[in-house]
Symmetry: C2
Subunit: 425 residues, 2 copies
């Protein structure tokens, strides 16, 4: 008989912790920015829960939490399950949070039935996945993987809008841990991540579980447009060098180019204006472009097309301004490992049958994209109502949350069994 997670307990825990730590008033939305007071408190709660289950808890140098339930093997590394507890400034209750709460429910279920696994089983809460407070999404799994261009010290130095550095925030919340944020010193056998789809595909095709095989490639560019300040009442239109007008043309071009090429998606989600005074012509405007495509080469192609358009706009404009790309980040496309994909597929089929599962690429970035660079990884998706995410209206039904946790449990046990019987090396 298949071991069953407790869906009621999972959903009650998820809802009550969201209500307590970070709920927006008048909606089911969440604002739980990385290393904020709300994030610190829910992390403290998680650590206490895991310790109460008998787990050993390690905090690494980026604040990533590793809570480990011991297995019998002395030589094997842990099989991990995880995601993130932080949210967007006006996000929902499921993005990231479901993956961590489902991992906790798996640990509770293993305890309830005194299950002895071969490998240790580890729950992970990755810090600052959203990058909403400290710019740089999937920041801390990136550091742990050592594959991100932004390493430990550079991430420690990143500041939020109030000038507080990541390292300072880690120290102040008590999450600057001693464990190296490096997979070579704190390694895993495999990594599974349950997540909501954050898109409309599963719901639209009446599927219950997405067996995720890859994550699309992404690149971000921070662009600064420079003009010349001047008085809005006395500077003739002809002599102007208005950075916001040029930025507006460029942002329009980002959107138009993504639509016309059909290569992928491109979004400007952040804009800031140096002067920000109604009587002053803006001289410095910054914005961030987010480009995502199925493959890295398509990301390159779309980015190149966008910047070609930028050159044309700035060259042809009567409004004389200049622009520069002042910083870039990126996440290469990630192909998940067949051993993990197979464990998820087998677990999902046993729950809902072959007709209700589908193989998918992830449009969003996830911590699993970084882990997959250095340990076998894959993901499980469950449906998002109307495909909405990063929004208070984000919703996944209690039944789908439970189903996801059940598939996660099955995948972990199948993988553990594969190691025990030698079918997984």
């Amino acid at each position: 008989m298949t071991l069953r997670i407790n869906g009621k307990r999972l959903n009650e825990t998820l809802q009550s912790t969201c209500t307590t730590w970070g709920a927006l008033s008048n909606s089911t939305g969440m604002r739980r920015l990385a290393l904020s007071q709300e994030d610190r408190e829910v992390r403290d709660w998680l650590v206490a829960e895991c310790k109460a289950l008998g787990c050993e808890v390690k905090i690494d140098q980026m604040g990533n939490i590793f809570a480990t339930r011991a297995g019998t093997s002395k030589t094997r590394k842990p099989i991990a399950m995880g995601s993130h507890l932080d949210t967007q400034p006006a996000g929902g209750r499921y993005d990231g949070i479901l993956g961590v709460q489902a991992a906790l429910e798996v640990l509770r279920t293993l305890n309830d039935h005194n299950i002895q696994t071969e490998c240790s089983i580890t729950l992970i809460d990755w810090t600052n996945e959203e990058g909403a407070r400290f710019p740089g999404a999937m920041m801390c799994s990136g550091v742990w993987s050592t594959e991100s261009a932004t390493g430990l010290q550079a991430c420690w130095d990143i500041k939020d809008l109030d000038g507080i550095s990541m390292k300072q925030a880690l120290e102040e919340t008590g999450y600057l841990g001693p464990t190296p944020a490096d997979y070579r010193e704190n390694g895993l056998e495999a990594y599974f991540e349950l997540h909501i789809e954050q898109g409309p595909i599963l719901e639209a095709s009446d599927m219950k579980v997405g067996v995720v095989t890859s994550v699309q490639g992404m690149k971000w560019f921070r662009v600064k447009v420079s003009g010349v300040e001047g008085h809005s009442g006395t500077t003739p239109m002809q002599g102007r060098s208005d950075a916001l007008v040029t930025a507006s043309r460029l942002i329009t071009a980002v959107n138009d180019t993504a639509r016309s090429t059909g290569l992928g998606v491109a979004t400007v989600g952040v804009i800031s204006n140096d002067t920000q005074s109604q009587a002053t012509i803006p001289s410095g405007v910054e914005f961030i472009i987010d480009v995502r495509c199925s493959t890295d080469s398509m990301v390159e192609e779309l980015s190149t097309a966008i910047f070609k358009k930028f050159e044309d706009i700035v060259a042809s404009e009567a409004n004389k301004t200049s622009y520069e790309v002042i910083r870039t980040w990126g996440l290469p496309e990630s192909i998940f490992h067949k051993d993990c994909i197979e464990a998820v597929r087998s677990s999902a089929i046993s729950e809902v049958g072959t007709s209700k599962i589908m193989e998918m690429k992830s449009g969003a970035g996830h911590d699993a994209a970084w882990t997959s660079k250095v340990v076998k990884s894959s993901m499980i998706f469950v449906p998002s109502k109307d495909g909405i995410s990063h929004n208070p209206a984000e919703y996944t039904s209690p039944e789908d949350c439970s189903l996801g946790a059940q598939v996660l449990l099955g995948a972990v046990l199948r993988y553990d069994e594969g190691i025990k019987d030698g079918s997984i090396p």
Copy 2:
């Protein structure tokens, strides 16, 4: 023999107080936001200087400072000179500041020579002229005139970006005074304002003094564009409702419409984005449009053309968003009074001759625009290097600053003489 101001003292006082209170590092720029620590300290200094000259100092309910040197008449109200000591976030040392410092120099000169005037002579420092901290330019002269649509309580309630209200800032700096902010209870005979031109005309035509006859009409609109939040990686380009993309098209249209119609100038100096996260499609973007034309009817015509363009853009866009004008302010065109214009003209001619003065309209708004609605008013302009203002590079030579102060003194004395001899009623 004409009474002479002390140009060396004027310029030394202006430069040293700028260096002490609000100087930007590494430039001659200024950041002295209304009721900031720097503004409070320079106001405290000004009050002390005026009291040392024997002036009576009154502070009104909006923090406007009135420092009065007594005249002989028991029935006449004071003749006033003034401007503002606050600056843009990255402004210069002359915009507003010169007008107050020149007024102080006039008071000092009158004292130095024991001049007895018929009317009392009042120096005024108007609070928050720039509107850079508390939105709404010329806010406090507007309240005093009782002609502004935004009255005392509404202005008290206006908040800065940190959520501090105008009233709270007045209280905390000690400038919430007991004198009614109302010209009917704290009246003036006339008002003269010396200001830098903030445009290129005087310099380009090799003129020394502008005899200002009017201020152009202005209107501001706060516009909010609403879309739907969504994940930047999983929301297809086709289904998007991106408020920043629409806002960008609208801001571009503001600029294009002002250029193509030639009716005046239109600027977007302020933009803000509700979500401000690189992985979230923006759902709420606000910006402020500043429209200025020679006449009120041209302001109406240009505004109407801009909003017509907005309708077309929003209706034709694949990107489904909506917009609303959530607030407007305005300053009607102001025609200055012949008695004041004549006093300025006569004083300027006696200093530089008729070939070096020109009649001008002001492109920028000034406190004199509000005072002119309720008391006889006019302004004096001196040249701005390269027409630059609201910028650290703003510059007016010490000679031109002194000349402006001298013309101001002459205008005030001529006006006072006119009252004495009955030529001014």
